[in-house]
Amino acid sequence: MTEPIVRFQDVHKSFGDFDVLKGINLDIKPAEKVAVIGPSGSGKTTIIRMLMTLEEPSSGDIIVDGKNLWKMKKKEKMVKANEKHLREVRGDIGMVFQHFNLFPHMTILENCMTAPIHVKKENKEEVRDRSVKMLERVGLGDKLDSYPNQLSGGQKQRVAMARALVMRPKIMLFDEVTSALDPELVGEVLEVIRDLAKHEDMAMVLVTHEMDFALDIADKVLFLDEGVIAEQGTASEVIEHSENERLQGFLRRFRG
């Protein structure tokens, strides 16, 4: 039994009076591909945003590679993590966003090179080679010097993935990465994710509405409903053998 690379222990999150997550317990193993499905507003995105340190949990612990993400030890007491601690722990996590969030003032290549050079202090030439290779891999080798506003949505999202991958994360988070795309552009993005899932040994967490796709590549599926993990297991366990009526209803709406 390998140690999980990510562990959620009774994680709660509320925004004001609204309890989004009501006690999440979750283990993600290294290289495991996890799909998170569920109705909108069920807190799917909040889970991965807390893991990326974009949202602070109200209570509970998130352990990344054995280290507590949001808390640190200070004089034998656990206190709220500071910026330095967060940076140490989240270094192995990468994320792709629904709205791409590419840096519009940089070329595609610069988008990919900035973080490895400035954050990881890596050699510039080496980073350039790696970035070019990564952009070629996502099919954008001919766009290196273009700016984000010259690209289609699907191309932007592929750049965003390349940008995250150049940092060599051990955990990649995908936040509804096809939701903002025109339908005809969804396929090209899913192809890249499928390729990653097959050939990369990093853990992946996909929050998605692309049900068939998620079930196809995921080792584990989580059905999130009203702030709790209502169902989890392999794709076939969750889809075919679940007794959960809300899950069945949810799936029916998606698969027609």
Partner: protein, 239 residues
């Protein structure tokens, strides 16, 4: 018929000559003030930009004392008139505290610089805040530090957004420099006033030429502002 034409012809010609003469006479007089107007503008613009970035960033600081203190500076200088500030610095402060702010050139530069710095700091603050939240989140996801997020991602985009407003305020600052004539600086308006008081009938033509001077000085700034608008349209994510 013939007579009428004969007598009516030369009159406008004569007037035109007088005006031309007046312009030729007045123009070099006013031009003596160019040096002061331009140097005051350049120096107060540099001071204003500097104050804008210092105060703009301080107002976004996590430290409440820094935030309140700069807020006080901004509101005082935005909320009171430039000319009164100028008189305060020039007349009141030396009397009350015995501090001399240097020559009247320096006093003018400091008053205009601090005043427009206060306005521009709001432009800096607003631009930084209007860079889309997602940009900062993407930078966090790439594990950038707070400082790196600002330096590499937020600031370069915010500066693009600031350019048109900085251009606008610089044009205003040019016109604001005319106030230094009130503390005895020999700028364009000062020479205009001298000319007018020595020959009242020339007042319209004098002040017309003063306007022309300011307009010519403003032209490059207007052009730069347009340029700035063009640049700011590209390369910014907001929303």
């Amino acid at each position: 018929m013939f007579n009428l034409e004969f007598y009516s012809e030369p009159k406008p010609k004569l007037e035109g000559v007088i005006i031309m003469n007046a312009i030729i006479e007045i123009f070099p007089q006013l031009a003596r003030g160019l040096h002061v107007t331009i140097t005051v503008l350049l120096a107060s613009a540099i001071l204003a930009y500097l104050m804008a970035f210092i105060a703009g960033l301080c107002r976004l600081s996590g430290n409440i004392i820094i935030r309140k203190f700069t807020g006080f500076y901004v509101e005082v200088f935005r909320g009171t008139s430039l000319i009164v500030q100028l008189f305060w610095l020039y007349y009141a402060i030396p009397m009350l505290f015995g501090i001399q702010l240097g020559s009247n050139w320096w006093t003018g530069v400091i008053a205009i610089g601090l005043n427009y710095g206060a306005y521009l700091s709001e432009v800096v603050r607003g631009s930084i805040l209007s860079v889309a939240q997602g940009q900062s989140e993407a930078a966090t996801a790439l594990n950038m530090s707070r400082f790196q997020r600002m330096r590499l991602v937020i600031f370069p985009q915010a500066v693009r957004m600031m350019l048109p407003e900085f251009g606008n305020y610089t044009i205003q600052m040019l016109k604001g420099t005319s106030l230094v004539s009130l503390i005895g600086m020999t700028d364009i308006l000062y020479y205009g006033d001298i000319l007018r008081s020595s020959n009242l009938s020339q007042a319209p033509i004098v002040y017309l030429l003063v306007l022309v001077f300011y307009f010519i000085l403003a032209l490059p700034l207007i052009w730069l502002t347009r340029k700035g608008e063009h640049i700011s349209k590209k390369g910014v994510a907001n929303g």
